[in-house]
Amino acid sequence: MPRPIEWQLGTVTGIQTETPTVRSFTLGLPEWSGHRAGQHVDIRLTAEDGYSVERSYSIASEPELAGQLEITVERIPNGEVSPFLHDVVVEGDRLEVRGPIGGYFVWETGLGGPLFLVAGGSGVVPLMAMLRHRARAGSTIPTRLLFSSRGPDEIIYRDELDRLAGHGDGLEVAYTLTRQQPPGWTGYSRRIDDRMLDEVLEPLGSGARTYICGPTALVETAANALLRLGLPADRIRTERFGPTGT
């Protein structure tokens, strides 16, 4: 079994369109050592002249899936890796993968809850791995996801999130749409702020294990607000993506 530090070849076994700019790729990895929800992989592309480029992508799938994993990738127009994945890669192609990587931004049912997840855009990906793991494990740990997207067509995993929240097993999902709302929208319609965080967090209490992932500015805003609301710093884990759209 390769160590996480070694590159291994994964075969693309499925490609799914999530939103107009986001796709999920299922990779078959026969020698995958398994991962924990929240970890990421590095993907390396190498050109014929030897030039290579690496990017980190959060794992979207739950650890319970053996021998495969799913990454969800937003297409960055001027990116070096994501346009290749979106526009060139087809099923059957092989990609160099290294991982799993990271142990800091990780949640598993054994850590307990309550669990409070805050996502902006594709920041939902590692949190989805946590929710899929939670569902697969049959957990009823009280859990809330606050998920910020720009418009209704840009909500990644929306159908699955609504389905998971409909199980009545203690998961609730709150959406906010910051730029465009469909007619009759009943969710939030603004950027994440103190009042919104307070409202969504309130039923979980200030001891909730909190994971925030998204663009750096959103993560900063949410983490600082939660500290003001009295959440202890050691209950808050963050993963910043950098600037929006890069």
Binding site: I5, G102, E220, T238, G242
Partner: protein, 100 residues
Amino acid sequence: MDEPGRDPAADLMVDGNAVAGTLMGVFGEEVTTMPGQCAHCGTVNMIGGMHAYIRGPGIVLRCPVCHGVVIRAVERGDATYVDAQGMRYLRFRQSTVIGR
């Protein structure tokens, strides 16, 4: 992002988690849950909770409390140069070192 007066460089910051792959290549182990003490202010933080800047020619890790530079790493050829002057110590678990 749209906030007036916000330092544009602040948006470039990511977490130590983002450089986990590079640092794993240096230390040979997963490091994001490894505690280290900032040599500038004495705070102990896990690598994954430090602030990382990765858009330059190398990577820079800064203390999340005092923002002092704790680690710089640059890859050159087949080598990685690591300057850890700002890190007073890093705590490796024995099980991750012995027997390797």
